[in-house]
Amino acid sequence: MPVISVCSPKGGVGKTTLAANLAHVFSASGARVVCIDFDPQNSLRLYFGVQLSEERGFINIFTEDPKAGWIDAVINGGKNLFVIPYGKSSEDQRRALASVLADDKGPTNYLGEWQKGLFCDPSVLLIADFPPGYSPALAAISTVADISIVPLMADASSVSLFSVLENNELIDRPLNERLGYYIVLNHVDNRIRLNREVQDFAHGNFADRLLGVIHSDTSVIEAAAMQRSISDFNQNSSAAFDIEVIARKIAGLLKFDVKSGTMVLNPESQGA
């Protein structure tokens, strides 16, 4: 059960969109994918056809019945695709969750307990979306995550964030204990000179941590607004192409590290 966390020190960089679209790409290529939303904004579900009025999520189930499993919070989001929404929450609920997650012994227990259901299936890929910056959930997941995907904008402020990641300043320890973090430059617009310069900087200094770029393309927003997949909206969308490239690279990374046989992400590409 490989776990991919999508997080970023900065808000509005397209974490949720990336997480949702990665899930779509993986599921389309044959993997079973569960997408978990750890962001109180509770917006990930909207990428999976969940009605706006359907506001329940795992936080509601968790606070109502701590004995319930994750499985009770799963909503089917399409073929091979499952989503666990955060749920509409109160301040108290969020605090309660945070304290459980922050408990030294808690996190492993909490997640470990819940892993038994869906999580233990080695053919299931887990993608977790987080709120911007530090969150207790992000710290907690670091013990089980295999890879962390960090979208950033290709602007000047991102340059300082590269070092935040490099120095593990986000959760005061590495984002995961396996493959580490990989940066994705999002909303890249090469018509803007600064965008190109930031890319050059990233290529020059963080080449081994740069997974790819995603071009700025309103197809993504349009598709989300219509609750359709990007390529359904525009089959030549440059962003959709870029996300697919990134997904394949992640698959490659995971396959390399996760011993063969424990996961089948994309049976077609196994031979390659």
Binding site: D208, R209, G212, D217, S237, S238, G252
Partner: protein
């Protein structure tokens, strides 16, 4: 050992050759002998394509030609009247000229040197400094601009290369462009000695150890210097490295007569077997552009030669007289614009012819100090070649003189003459077809010469008599021919001559069928009619070159498949595949379909290249919205974007790599000439329409992953 072998071979061959040359025969014996020799060569040639066999063929062919010339000199120069004597001697001299050229060029092409690139040393500090000169006089900035931008793309340590525009036109916009592009701008107060003077002036102001020269339309590929400079480091006495002049636009002959056929163009013979042969004898010469020269060598001879209008060849000759070596690298590393129209082609060759004859007169390579014997022969061949105009006209007119006026310029029976001429002509064609067959097809050399012959007769004679008069004229380039027309002015003498030949052929045929009214030798009539028919074909082909076909496209369009992003006004960004690109526009797969919205126009394109991305504002050609391909035009590109497009279009090392032409076949070639004439006269273009491009996208997800790799 080698010399001994050579001596031995010579001891056997020379008496044999002597015997073959001087033994007289009657017509029948000569026929049999000639046919036997032809048959033997035919067999020999088909045994193998080895160079050794080619040399034997050259030797046999030259021997048979010598036999013919010996026969002509000893048996055919008896004339009945003064007018026949004059015409007869003129023809004989014309044939002597052709014979000398045949000897010289046989020598030139007998051993081609296949020079390889000398790799640059790993230690960059050893690389010499290079000044890149782009001389210009009156060419438009539009042409010069891309040459300069390409020169900036040359891959060479930036602190060791400087690019200069040498503007003899003293134009403000050139100075401004040089500043914007970041290159040097050199101009002077007068235009003394034209291009050579311009170069010499610049040499005083710059300090590079090597000087690379590009005519203002010759766009270099980015490995130009790394391919040519290494040789200078290896050989300290090397003064010059010349590379081919390649044209990416069709020359008038290609455009108006080849009409899309795959036939080697005019200069391929020179920039193939001839220069490589010259190089073997250390006699490759400078052609004015696409070359690198060592400054120290130029300093020794006082700069570029200014006495003649072909400063390039003359400079090389001078360098060689001082013991400097030259080289020719047969690798297309730059490309330029061919002359656009027939008349301009003629004007350009007029200058070359005058210049080379000036050298022949003022600094004769056969005499003077410093050259080796083979070098003398190679330079003599190059300079004497341009005397072809008069002999060529003589050959066109001689058979007509006989058919129309009954002037017999050859003494002897037609049968005997034919028996001697046949092996001479056939074997020289056959040998040249074997050796040069991938660079020049049979009969085309004659067509090129005939096109130039009439206009060159008077200028070449004038300069032969008075070599110090001659003005440098600049060849206009980069124009377009908007609509088809016949440039009768350019080929007026050709037309008159063609009419005369046609008349005399008809007259000859009348004579043949009504011999009772005329006093003629029927065999001679037949021979002369056949000769005239052959002449007429070639002359007609030359005339067809003046039937200008339109060439509206100003910019070179290259088929190239690259990933491209299309930005629409709404912010939608789609991926497509670039299919072709020029400096003024491009064509891509139409991926937008009905999404080409009238209210969501395309604003920008982003082309992904190995060297980064090129982003440009582009206007869509509106009627392409509903076709398979979207077409765009760009204008007002900023200088950096333009440089990137130049880099992409013109500077890839394999940009001009092309498959070699098919080996020549004499008979096929003759029919090709006929077909070209027919198509030109009927205005049919035989170029096959290219099928729709393969629809494979420029780049798939797999391609990207392969290219970028997965970070470790």
């Amino acid at each position: 050992m080698k010399a001994l072998k050579f001596l031995f071979a010579a001891c056997i061959a020379l008496p044999l050759i002597y015997l073959i040359v001087v033994t007289p025969m009657n017509a029948e014996d000569q026929y049999i002998f000639g046919l036997c020799m032809i048959g033997a060569c035919f067999l020999l040639s088909n045994i193998s394509r080895k160079h050794f066999i080619s040399v034997i063929l050259i030797l046999v062919s030259v021997t048979m030609s010598t036999r013919y010339m010996y026969f002509r000199a000893t048996q055919t120069l008896a004339f009945d009247s003064l007018i026949e004597a004059i015409c007869g001697w003129i023809l004989f001299f014309a044939e002597c000229y052709v014979y000398i050229i045949l000897l010289l060029s046989s020598f030139q092409i007998s051993w081609a040197l296949k020079r390889e690139t000398v790799p640059m040393p790993e230690d960059i500090s050893k690389w010499p400094t290079v000044d890149v000169y782009v001389p210009t006089y009156n060419e438009s900035l539009e042409i010069v601009r891309d040459t300069v931008l390409a020169a900036q793309c040359l891959e060479y340590p930036q602190d060791k290369i400087k690019v200069y525009i040498l503007d003899d036109g003293r134009r403000k916009e050139f100075a401004q462009f040089a500043t914007e592009a970041g290159v040097g701008y050199i101009t002077r107060s007068d235009n003394a000695h034209a291009k050579a003077g311009n170069l010499n002036h610049a040499m005083k102001l710059t300090h590079g150890e090597l000087i690379a020269i590009f005519d203002c339309d010759h766009i270099a590929t980015r490995m130009f210097l790394q391919d040519t400079v290494g040789a200078f480091l290896k050989d300290k006495k090397l003064a010059l490295m010349q590379t081919p002049h390649h044209f990416y636009s069709p020359d008038p002959i290609q455009r108006n007569l080849y009409l899309g056929r795959d036939i080697p163009c005019e200069n391929e013979l020179f920039y193939g077997p001839v220069q490589k042969g010259n190089d073997n004898w250390d006699a490759a010469f400078f052609c004015g552009s696409c070359a690198v020269i060592r400054r120290a060598a130029l300093d020794e001879i006082g700069g570029f030669a200014t006495e003649t209008v072909t400063e390039d060849a003359h400079t090389a000759l001078r360098l060689q007289r001082r013991g400097w070596r030259t080289g020719y690298l047969d690798k297309i590393l730059a490309a330029g614009l061919a002359t656009e129209r027939t008349i301009l082609h003629i004007i350009q060759r007029n200058r070359w012819a005058r210049g080379m004859i000036q050298i022949l007169r003022l600094d004769n390579p056969l005499f003077g100090r410093g050259l080796s014997f083979p070098q003398r022969l190679c330079y003599l061949s190059a300079t004497m070649y341009f005397l072809f105009a008069l002999p060529r006209v003589v050959f066109l007119l001689v058979p007509c003189m006989y058919l129309t006026f009954g002037i017999s310029v050859l003494h002897g029976s037609a049968a005997l003459l034919f028996a001697y001429a046949l092996p001479h002509l056939f074997m020289s064609y056959y040998t040249s077809s074997r050796i040069n067959g991938r660079h020049r097809y049979s009969f085309w050399g004659e067509i090129y010469d005939i096109l130039l012959s009439f206009p060159l007769v008077i200028p070449t004679l004038a300069v032969l008599i008075s070599p110090r008069h001659g003005k440098f004229n600049v060849t206009d380039k980069g124009g377009t021919v908007d609509k088809a027309y016949f440039d009768s002015h350019a080929v007026k003498p050709h037309l008159i001559c063609a009419a005369f030949i046609l008349f005399s052929m008809i007259f000859g045929i009348v004579k043949y069928f009504m011999p009772q009214y005329f006093t003629v030798q029927l065999g001679a009539v037949l021979l002369n009619v056949a000769w005239s028919a052959f002449n007429f074909t070639l002359l007609l082909a030359a005339i067809c070159v003046a039937r200008e076909t339109p060439n509206k496209r100003k910019a070179q369009r290259l088929e190239i498949t690259l990933p491209v992003l299309i930005y629409q006004q709404s912010g939608i960004c789609s991926r497509s595949s670039l299919r072709d690109l020029s400096m003024t526009g491009c064509r891509l797969d139409n991926v937008l379909g009905d999404q080409v919205l009238q209210d969501d126009p395309v604003t920008d394109l982003e082309i992904t290249t190995d060297h980064g991305v090129i982003v440009l504002k582009a206007d869509m050609v509106s009627n392409s919205a509903y076709s398979d391909y979207l077409r765009f035009t760009f204008d007002n590109l900023d200088i950096d974007t333009r440089r990137e497009i130049v880099r992409l279009l013109f500077t890839r090392p394999d940009t001009w790599k092309a498959a070699p032409h098919k080996q020549d076949n004499i008979i096929v070639s003759y029919f090709t000439v006929l077909a070209c004439i027919w198509d030109s006269l009927t205005r049919k273009h035989s170029a096959k329409k290219k099928g729709k491009n393969e629809q494979r996208p420029a780049e798939t997800v797999e391609d990207v992953i392969k290219k970028e790799g997965v970070p470790a």
